[in-house]
């Protein structure tokens, strides 16, 4: 087990190196010159050239890359070309809304999705099952910004039950924080609820027809014990896998949701950075989210061993 974790960390380093090269090249090879952006629309060529020199953009690309890697390993993610402040500081300022949204969305989609899926599998073809089929068609096919504006219209503008947009930091009160996050979480979560519920349903259906379920019934186990103890644990591995995958997809969804609900998170930081060709920010956010994704995958793989004793590394 320890050897496995070590091996995984070593391969993680290789993966991150590849990701790093890819991210770096992608941005350098894309059209658009950050020095020209900083200098302004009608700047003199000499000014642009001196800015390029200052930013080190004239050095050969391998040199720029090595410098970047060395800085990152030293914990220095660079300085925003545009804002002139350290990237890490900018990111940490924007971290809370994004993390709040992501975590609440995961909690919502796992709890609701798994329960929904179990109930649908328990009574296949029943009311819950048919509701799930209809719901997942909507959840899958309607994009976040449509659902988002729809929710805003009904629950904020028409009824005034919830705030339209914006974010209140956690330390200014749990209530206001939560109230502002309800609509974004629901808008972002619907698709994931559908996703998790479909996989849970399929996985549960497979397990429910297993011989050991009949053994459990022959023992006199209740429906509750059959579903939640005997079946769910066996159905857990695929469910855990989609939760891991969902987390990766979530990163894309967060950007849209932050825009719709005007949340000052990482997503909007990145969108602005892309518009401004603010390389250090784009690179840092990409490398950090890739790292997070790799770690989540590792965590999911390790969590399998807690669910299924047959899986050993």
């Amino acid at each position: 087990m320890a050897a496995y974790i070590l091996r995984r960390f070593v391969s993680t380093i290789a993966v991150m190196a590849m990701v790093g090269i890819f991210i770096f090249l992608l941005l350098r090879l894309a059209p658009g010159d950050p020095a020209a952006m900083i200098a302004g629309r009608n700047a003199a060529p000499q000014l642009i050239a001196s800015i390029r020199e200052q930013l080190g953009l004239n050095d050969p690309i391998p040199v720029q890359f090595m410098r970047w890697v060395r800085d990152i390993l030293g914990g220095d993610f660079g300085t925003s070309i545009f804002a002139g402040r350290p990237v890490l500081e900018l990111i940490s300022q924007r971290l809370e809304p994004t993390l709040s949204l992501a975590i609440l969305t995961m909690i919502l989609s796992v709890t609701v999705g798994v329960s929904f899926g179990i109930l649908a599998a328990w009574r296949t073809g029943g009311l819950v099952d048919r509701l799930l089929a209809a719901f997942s068609a909507v959840g899958y096919s309607v994009p976040v910004f449509v659902i988002g504006y729809f929710l805003i219209y009904f629950f904020a503008i028409r009824t005034h039950w919830l705030p339209v947009q914006g974010y209140v930091p956690f330390n200014q009160g749990l209530g206001p924080w939560f109230v502002h996050l309800i609509l974004p979480t629901v808008a972002l979560g619907l698709g994931y609820i559908a996703f998790v519920a479909r996989v849970t349903r399929a996985s549960m259906l497979e397990v429910l027809s297993e011989d050991y379920m009949r053994t459990a019934a022959a023992k006199g186990a209740s429906s509750y014990a059959m579903l939640f103890q005997h079946a769910l644990k066996n159905a857990g591995v695929p469910i855990l896998t989609v939760i891991g995958i969902s987390f990766a997809y979530l990163i894309g969804g967060v950007v849209l949701t932050e825009t719709v609900f005007n949340l000052p998170g990482i997503g909007r930081l990145v969108v602005n950075a892309i518009n401004n060709r603010d390389y250090p920010i784009i690179q840092s956010v990409l490398i950090l989210t890739s790292g997070l994704y790799v770690l989540i995958n590792l965590a999911v793989d390790l969590a399998y061993t807690l669910i299924d004793p047959r899986i050993r590394y």
């Binding site: 296949t124 297993e210 011989d211 050991y212 009949r214 053994t215 459990a216 019934a217 022959a218 023992k219 006199g220 186990a221 209740s222 014990a225 005997h230 644990k233 066996n234 669910i307 299924d308 004793p309 047959r310």
Partner: protein
Amino acid sequence: MQMHQTARNDVLLELRDLETRFYGEESVTRALDGISFQVMKGETLGVVGESGCGKSVTALSILRLLPKVSARIVGGEVRFHGCNLLELSDREMRKIRGDQIAMIFQEPMTSLNPVYTIGHQIAEAVQIHTKASRSVAKAKAEEMLRLVRIADPERRVSNYPHEMSGGMRQRAMIAMALACSPELLIADEPTTALDVTIQAQILRLIVDLKERTGTAVMFITHDLGVVAETCQRVIVMYAGRIVEQATINDLFASPAHPYTQGLMRSMPDPRRGRQRRLPEIPGIVPSLRDPIVGCSFAPRCPFAIDICREKTPVLRDVRAGHTAACWRAEEVMGA
């Protein structure tokens, strides 16, 4: 459970005209077509027949474990201590399953839950039916493993099914089934999936435990040899019906149904030396989707005459304690 005083106190389980059907997309299968028999307290009853004759369906019907969507019991009664199990609520039925009637299954490889330890699964049966605490139930699990002669039970309780061999898993299944001292144990082909040497051990174990605990056993098998070793009375099933019922001695001495005779001839017999080829019963089991006119065995039967193809024979006494559903039973016995 309400107890009715029956005329014969030694009857533990009585099936009366049990009819179970399976519903497919377009067809209905009459899996059980009027099954009636009794299991006495403490006896070992063998249920024999080919695959698909309704042996397992009978067992699952008794415990009401048939798949809800596709199967239904459409008629008859299952009286346990005189009380009709088919009329009980789901909750009342759960109290009987695993406590008064327990069951072991054919496939020890797939019949245990792979994500829980053996000890946990045995203890669960105890905890469902008694108020035993976790630790008491765990101790009971260990005791049961010792009872089914698993070596090193202290260690084995915390094993997962995949860490055990097929024979050991079947022992664990038996331990689980007997944990609440049931009055009836239904064993559905418990040795079919095992190696021959392990088969004999498991059979021996079931017979021993049965003698020690006084549990009645309903032994379902396709193997007449197993029946001969374990049972006192036998029921022979064919195409969803009982075709013969007798004590083990009567059945082997003078089978009264041509199907039973065919089954016996197709058993290898070492005394006869090496045969060129075992005789087999010609033809195939009829489809249970179409209504059967006459005797269901008639198309394969060497004794069949006109009446066999026209009228369905009912079970009748051919002598004391020996019944058969054959128009020509007397001639068959003499043959």
